[in-house]
Structure formats: C-alpha cells, structure tokens
C-alpha cells in the first residue's frame, strides 16, 4: 500500500510501540500532525513550548526505559528543542526528535522558518538525519530508534522537509537494522572480567561507583546482587540515583561537589574503585590528581570513549553495565569469593554517623533542607517519582531524599538545565500514571518553563511542584557569597513576583503557600492529596547554603561547611582502630 512519508513516520512510531508523542505543530510539520490525528494508540501531548516537549520526552524515557518522542516544526520550533536535546545527550537519554523542514527546493535559501537543525545539532545528537527521499522514511525511522536506544543511549534527530513528508512510498518497517559503522559492544571481555573479579575478591576497601549506565541498562537488580554477595559499599552519582536503594546499609551516598563527606572520604580511601556506567565527571572527581588516588580503578562503560578520558584506568571493560555486572558476579561465585569488607564498612559507618548531612533547624523559618525532608517523609509509603530543577533545590533533593527504586528520579545532570523539572514531571507522570510525581523546584528554575503548568492542567496530570522559594538564584548567590565577596550581581529575585499561588490558580491548578515550619506539612499534604496539578510555594530561609561543598578544582575530601572534619588522611590518623582493622 502506498502511503505518504508522514504516514509512514506515524506507522513507524506505532511499530516501535510509541504511546506518547510530545510536540508542537507549525507550518511545515502539518503533514505529520495530520497523520497523527486519530492515529491509533498514540497520545499527542501539546506542550506550551518546544523545550518543554523535549524535556518531557527526556523524562518520559528516564522513567519508562522507552524512547521519548518529540515532533516539532522547523526554524524556531526546531531551535527551541536544542536545549532539551543537549540535555538528553549529556545524560545519555534516548529520545527521537522529528522536526519539520522547509521544502527541498528552497532548502539553503534562508526560507521562512528555515534553520539548519541537522547542522546545529551535530554536536548534541548521537546521530541525525535529513530525510531527503520519502522512500527512506521507514528505514531512517528504524535506524533512529535503533541508534537512540542501543549502546550508550542518546538523542537522534530526523529533519523532514515538507515536500518529502508528502512524498509516497510502500511502507514496510524493517525488522532488523544493520549499520556498518555502529556495533556497540555488549559483552565485556572475559579476561578483563576475571581480573576485575579477582580485584574485588582481594580488595580490603572496595567501593562501587555507580552511574546512569546501570539504570539505562536496567541493571539495578544485578548490581544489588553483586553488592550483597561481596558486601560492597555503593556510591551512586546524581545520574545513578535509584540504581541502588538509598535505604540499604551498603549505600554510601552521592560523591562529589555536594556529596556526603562520608562518601568522599570513602572514595579517597578506597583501594579499589569499581566504576560502572560512570564518566568521572568533574563535579564528581574534583581535583583529578587526588581522586581515588590510593585505588586501583576498574571502569565499566558501554562507551569506549569514556574509558580513560578523564582518569587513567587499570582494568577497562567495554560493555553493557548489566551484562558485565552479572558476569563479574558469576565469576566471583565460581571463585567462591567471600566478603571481606566488614572492617571497611565499620569505618564507613563511623564516618557516616559522624558526618551526616546537617543543617540548623529553625522554629520560625522553613529551612529548605527541612522542606525536602518533609517531602521525603510524607511520600515514603507511596510510589513516587522525584524530579528536580537545577541549583540548590537539586542538591538538597540529592542530599535529603531517599530514592529507592530505579527510574523514579529525573534530574538534569550533565547539562544542568534550569527549567527541566516541570516538563520532566509532566513526562514522568505520563510514563508513570500510578505514581505521585513531584518536582522539587527553585523560584528561579520554575520560571524557565512555568508555561507547562497549562500542559499539566489541560491533560489532568497531577504533578506537584514544591518550590523552595528563597528569592534568589540560590546557587549563584551561594557562589557569589563564597567566591565573589557577597556581590550578589543579578541573582536576586523578588520572592512574591510572581505570586506562585495565583500563578497556579491562573492555570486552574491548586496553589498553596507555607511560610512557617508549622504550616509546611499541611500545605504539602493538601497538594499531594489534590487530584490535579499543584504548586506549593515554600518560603524558605533565604540565605541557606548547600553544604558540604568541594571548592571548584579542590580535592573531594576537603570540603567546606558541614560538620568539621577532613581531609581523610587526618581522619584516619585520629582513628586508632582504623589502623588496627587494616592490619
């Protein structure tokens, strides 16, 4: 049967099992939206801005494990997705973005709403296509989904000129895609796996350093098995949150700039840092020369280019995280290896007990950390997805929430995109309709995509936005306080502009404000119990800082703020029993 390329694209989406498309129509993409009209099994979510569509698709992918799909028009529509695409690229999230384009006969003439979106997105996509022949539509769609979802996942963009979308083809969806230049390695090298297992069996102070790769390979179960078998402590990066239950006794927090002191001590002291699906990001490592400098390093990643990029590695293993973890566990079982981390865990537990996250409680004003703690406590018995914006709100969410399940956390890691949280919550809610979805927000970030409240309201998506409203771009202000002599250049926002309660009401959502600790629980509960979307405007202590903190470029065991302690060399000297247990 002959169909148009636009119809073929929609049929391809159906063949891929796509249930939700996020988008925004415009002139040259109308053939596609026309084909979507009444397309069976596909729900089209009209966002209020194309950036919102991209972030929503991104979070949808994070929480479901299925690729997110975005369809927008050419020119400004396509350009507006750029931040969302870059965000998905940095965090290795599979999204497929389909953009309309001007007709082929005017391509390159600066036609109305023309922009070279394939050119623009080369550095921020895993791959992109300009569909120049309708005959290729199904093939290109199949390739795009294959590339986006396999290996190290990432965004793929397909640019479709309007005349091509009207062109015809005989639709047949390829069953298998084979690309000569794309063959991701899944299985790790057997010899390397054996060596890695040997190192684990021998290590006295091993540490699993776990990132987003474990989540994208759906390897949380295998990770838990490995950790429990050998009683290995686990740290998860911001991207890895949820890969290991944060209420588990082997969980040792998040490393890096605003990580736990106990976590950073563990990294500094470990003799075997076993990295899985991580990329030794600068926010994690701080000064590279002192990062895990006493340790042998094993690095498992599906992307060979990440191995040895920032930090030299003793045992590199290229492969899918889940597959490699399972192979290492099998190897350890075969060896009959026994856990030997009891002393190490005692040291870590001691650090954890002495250097927990800490803030000074106030009877009169709401501490932002307290607000996050209350969110945690009020949701602890409910399946909940937590999204965040970017800045202080995000770091407090990292420190004080407890993420227990894989794919229940969506936060902009690599790109640090303010404005991610609300559209992310919308995407997450569509992916997990049975979950409570909360966006921990700041008063700065939320205003970067607050128009998406309309999307939430109209589609009856009951997302809850908890704004830690301090009247500042809080993280900017914190850096200005610490490193720029308290010169708060362009970082002050009026706490009551906009009035977030009225803003919620303007969209037909529920709005409530809490200004004292006594009001907080009632406000949060009212919002969480409300059947539709809600905003909680939490007026928090304005100049609270996120501590502890590694100064930019500093060693991670030398942290500002928090409970005094460190560097780790001093910590160990002070501990006679530590020396004992090592011997």
């Amino acid at each position: 049967m002959r169909v148009t390329a636009a119809q073929a694209i929609v049929k391809s989406l159906q063949a891929e099992g796509v249930e939700v498309v996020f988008g925004y129509p415009g002139g040259v993409v109308l053939p596609l939206f026309d084909a979507l009209y009444e397309a069976e099994g596909i729900r089209v979510i009209l966002t209020r801005h194309e950036q919102g569509a991209a972030h929503a698709a991104d979070a949808y992918a994070r929480v479901t494990g299925k690729p997110g799909v975005v369809i927008v028009t050419s020119g400004p529509g396509a350009a507006n997705t750029v931040t969302g695409i870059a965000n998905a690229y940095m965090d290795s999230v599979p999204i497929v973005v389909i953009t309309g384009q001007v007709a082929t006969h005017v391509l390159g003439t600066d036609a109305f709403q023309e922009t070279d979106i394939t050119g623009i997105t080369i550095p921020i996509t895993k791959h992109n296509y300009l569909l120049d022949d309708a005959e290729d539509a199904a093939q290109v769609m199949a390739e795009a989904f294959h590339i986006a979802t396999t290996g190290r996942p990432g965004p793929v963009l397909i640019d479709v000129p309007v005349d091509v979308s009207r062109g015809e083809l005989t639709f047949k969806y390829p069953e298998k895609v084979s690309l000569p230049g794309y063959k991701p390695t899944v299985k790790g090298h057997a010899k390397q796996i054996k060596e890695a297992a040997n190192l684990i069996a021998k290590a006295r102070k091993p540490l699993l350093y776990v990132g987003g790769g474990v989540l994208s390979s759906d390897g949380a179960r295998e990770l838990k098995e490995l950790a429990e078998l050998m009683q290995l402590p686990v740290v998860t990066t911001l991207m890895g949150k949820g890969a290991f239950p944060e209420d588990h006794h082997l969980f040792v927090g998040m490393p890096g700039m605003h990580g736990g002191k106990f976590t950073n001590y563990a990294i500094t002291e470990t003799d075997l840092l076993f990295g899985i699906g991580v990329r030794f990001d600068d926010r994690v490592t701080g000064k590279l020369a002192t990062f895990a400098s006493k340790a042998k390093i094993v690095h498992v990643d599906v992307d060979p280019a990440e191995i040895g990029k920032n930090r030299s590695v003793d045992i590199p293993i290229v492969g899918d995280a889940r597959t490699v973890i399972a192979a290492v566990t099998a190897e350890l079982r075969k060896m009959g290896a026994e856990p030997r981390t009891e002393a190490w865990m005692r040291v870590i537990d001691d650090w954890r007990a002495r250097y927990p996250f800490h803030y000074h409680q106030s009877a009169t004003s709401i501490m932002p950390e307290y607000a996050v703690e209350r969110v945690r406590e009020l949701t602890k018995d409910r399946p909940t997805v937590y999204c965040t914006e970017v800045g202080q709100n995000q770091m407090w969410a990292c420190q004080y929430l407890k993420i227990r399940e894989p794919r229940t956390w969506a936060s902009s890691g690599g790109l640090g995109t303010m404005g991610f949280g609300l559209p992310a919550a919308i995407g997450a809610q569509l992916g997990r309709p049975d979950h409570l979805v909360i966006d921990i927000a700041g008063d700065g970030s939320i205003q970067m995509n607050s128009q998406e409240l309309a999307t939430a309201a109209i589609n009856n998506l009951p997302v809850k936005v908890v704004i830690l409203n301090n009247g500042y771009l809080g993280m900017v202000r914190q850096w200005q306080e610490l490193f720029y002599g308290k010169r708060y250049s362009s970082s002050t926002l009026p706490q009551d502009c906009p009035d977030f309660v009225k803003l919620a009401e303007a969209y037909g959502a529920f709005g409530v404000r809490a200004t004292t600790p006594a009001e907080l629980d009632a406000a949060l509960t009212a919002a969480f119990e409300h059947p539709g979307p809600a905003i909680v405007d939490v007026r928090v202590e304005r100049e609270e800082n996120v501590f502890p903190m590694v100064a930019p470029g500093g060693s991670i065991d030398e942290m500002l703020g928090g409970i005094p302690g460190g560097p780790v060399s001093e910590m160990l000297d002070a501990e006679e029993f530590v020396e004992e247990v090592w011997e």
């Binding site: 895993k126 300009l130 230049g181």
Partner: protein
C-alpha cells in the same frame, strides 16, 4: 607527534562536517585532510594528519568511532605507509631564469604545467619532506601562489592479509 589517520567513512552528505566539527569541538587541530571516493562508491576515505600525543590520539580515535558514518580507522605507521601530496606552485619566472626553475623541477621529477609571461606553474607530487625541500628552493624565486591537496596515504601491501 604527527599521526596519519586513514578513515573509511560512508559516502553521504554531511559526513565531512561531522568529522571536521568533531575535531574542532574536542580541541584537536587538523594539519591536513584529504577526502575522496574509494573503489567502493558508497565509501570515502579521509586521510587526516593530526598532531596529538598518545592519550589525545586515543580519545580522538574513540570519538571518531562513535560517529555512525565512520566505518574504520587506521593510525598508519609512518614506516609502513605510502603517503603522497600534490602541490601546485606558481613561481615568479622572468624569461631569463626559466631554465633554472625548470631544472629544479626536473630534479624533483615535477612537471611544468603552465607558462606565463613572468611565471611558471609547477605540479609536484611526493612526500611532505620532498615537497618541503623543493618549496625551499623555489622560494628564492618568489612563490606567487600555492595550492596543495593535503596528504593521502595507504598502508603498504604487506600489511594486508
């Protein structure tokens, strides 16, 4: 240290842009780059000369491999490759000095491809060393214009199975 990368890529629009922008984005300088279609019309070969230490080279090679259109990358061993470059020199040549220049060209087995009233255009091929030596001599006469293809290279036959 200079490396000569022989990169087999799909012969599709935009591939050169992807490769070139990757080098620029990751902070690697390309000394020269030559592209052309191969014996298989669906494939092109890029010969890229890049100055990089081992770590940087490993990173750029891995990043190149991530491009979907890149099929194969060889870091050619200078001792085990054939490399050539083609250069056109337009040299100042008053009629009375033409024969000197022609002699230089002959020594380097280069060809005179155009003669003007006051210039000669010479076509030369060879390794970068040879061409540099020749250019040195021609400079004394004044090089008016110069165009070069960039290096192309292949591994020697003995490397093939």
């Amino acid at each position: 240290m200079k490396h000569t990368l022989s990169v087999l890529v799909e012969n599709k629009p935009g591939v050169l842009t992807r490769v070139a922008s990757l080098f620029a984005r990751r902070g690697f300088n390309i000394d020269s780059l030559a592209v052309g279609i191969t014996e298989d019309p669906t494939l092109s070969r890029m010969t890229i000369v890049v100055a990089a230490d081992e770590t940087a080279l490993e990173q750029v090679t891995k990043q190149l491999h991530k491009l979907i259109n890149v099929i194969k990358i060889q870091d050619l061993d200078p001792k085990d490759m054939i490399d050539r470059e083609l250069v056109l020199y337009k040299v100042n040549a008053a009629p009375e000095r033409r024969h000197e220049i022609i002699e230089i060209a002959n020594v380097f087995r280069a060809k005179i491809v155009d003669v003007g009233k006051n210039s000669l255009t010479i076509e030369a091929t060879g390794t970068s060393d040879k061409l540099a030596a020749m250019e040195d001599l021609l400079r004394a006469y004044g090089i008016k214009e110069l165009a070069r293809t960039g290096k192309i290279a292949l591994a020697r036959g003995s490397r093939d199975a």
